[in-house]
Amino acid sequence: MKKTFLLGICITFFCFQGCNSSSDNTPQDMLSDPYTYQQWYLDKNDVFYYEHAINDDAHIHLSSLGRIYSGKDVKVAVIDDGLDTNHPDLYKAVIASYDIKTKTTDVSPTYFNDYHGSAVTGIIAARENYIGVLGVAHNVSIIFLKYKSSMTESETIELFDKAEEFGADIISCSWGTYDVSDAVRDKIVDLSHNGRDGKGTLIVFAVGNDDYNLDDYNDESSIPEVIAVGATTKENIRAGYSNYGTSLDIVAPGGYYLSLPTLDVSGDRGENSGDYILYNGNFSGTSAAAPIVSGALALLLEENSDLTHDEVVEILHLRSDKIGNVVYDENGFNSYYGYGKLNVSNILNLK
């Protein structure tokens, strides 16, 4: 009887830990959003990590210094397929929007199953509000720019122009064409050098999920001025699908069999019938890794808005974790891992 009672206490304790709590190294403010314990990419939750055999360092170390900043007063433009701007976890997050097709501010998803843009935006900006999940930069301002699945070069340039017009500090792109044109390249390079009042807009691209060597392609992510992001798994190694090559800058969690919890389109639309994509859902890939880096850059710019594009890139290169048990060259580079894996606590620990 006594043993049964003690067992019951233990089970209750572990259930509570698994559902609501977090480990000792996770600050209290991360407890506020109920699914945060599943967000294995942000920080370590002992029970969740144990249950899903996640490597202790698979996350981006958002604890301590990472929680002092929240992206306040930083503007991130997301170019994607549509956004549920009424999602409760994006309350007051969206400050501007534009749909390239309709030329209006309505960026609602076109198709019933379009959730990509909401999922990407959630990783960056989901609010700290005691519901759902937590974004990497939960106070950041979002500019959402809706693309078409098939688009002209001039329309792509127009979206980057809109990002500039709305004052984006960072532009997050979880897409690519494998064939960037001279004109689009020009626009991206120009913004990277001259945007943000001459300090350079930070343009982040996902490198893609085809295990390609990008040196064989002219991808948007191959532009030297772009911050090119690959993906890692819960084992804290490169995801086998993640494209690679000399243009890769950094890797961040993108998952494989374990999804990255984030926003779904609310209601019946989107990935499932709820408002969130959870750890057993369907959102992984370099599409998920890129907004993690965009969110982290928002924290960095909140800490020091004077940083130039080149200074930010240098910080990322110098302060990323050299994971994967592979050889990095004398510059700290490996073509499968770039300059290593994002570590938010490291990149913010500058002053």
Partner: protein, 130 residues
Amino acid sequence: MFRLVLSFCLVFVVIAFSSEDFYYKRGKKVFLEPMTNKTRTASTGLLYYQTRNGITLGIGDRVLVKLKNKDALESYIQRFHLKLLHSFHPNIFLLQTSDKSQTLTIANTLNSFDNVIYAHPDFTKQMRKR
């Protein structure tokens, strides 16, 4: 006899190369293979090509051109019967051709001018979610 064979070879080479479609990217030729999907062309009004990397490009009646000096723009517009649709910073112009079947040729011809930094069709591409 040798001259005759040589002449035939030259003609063959000229025909072979002149019939090949291409555009310029960063000063280099990118060869294109025409795609014959009439249904797709009918629904979008675009001509479709594929690069050797397997990327599908749609070409309509628009060209993007970047100039060293925008003063020459008007002369190009007159010469090729173009219409200015939009100006992008820095010195990039979206121009409309009068016939989409000529778009690729006009873009390639513009590329040969000293004042043109680059010119290429305003390709339509698939945005791939990642």
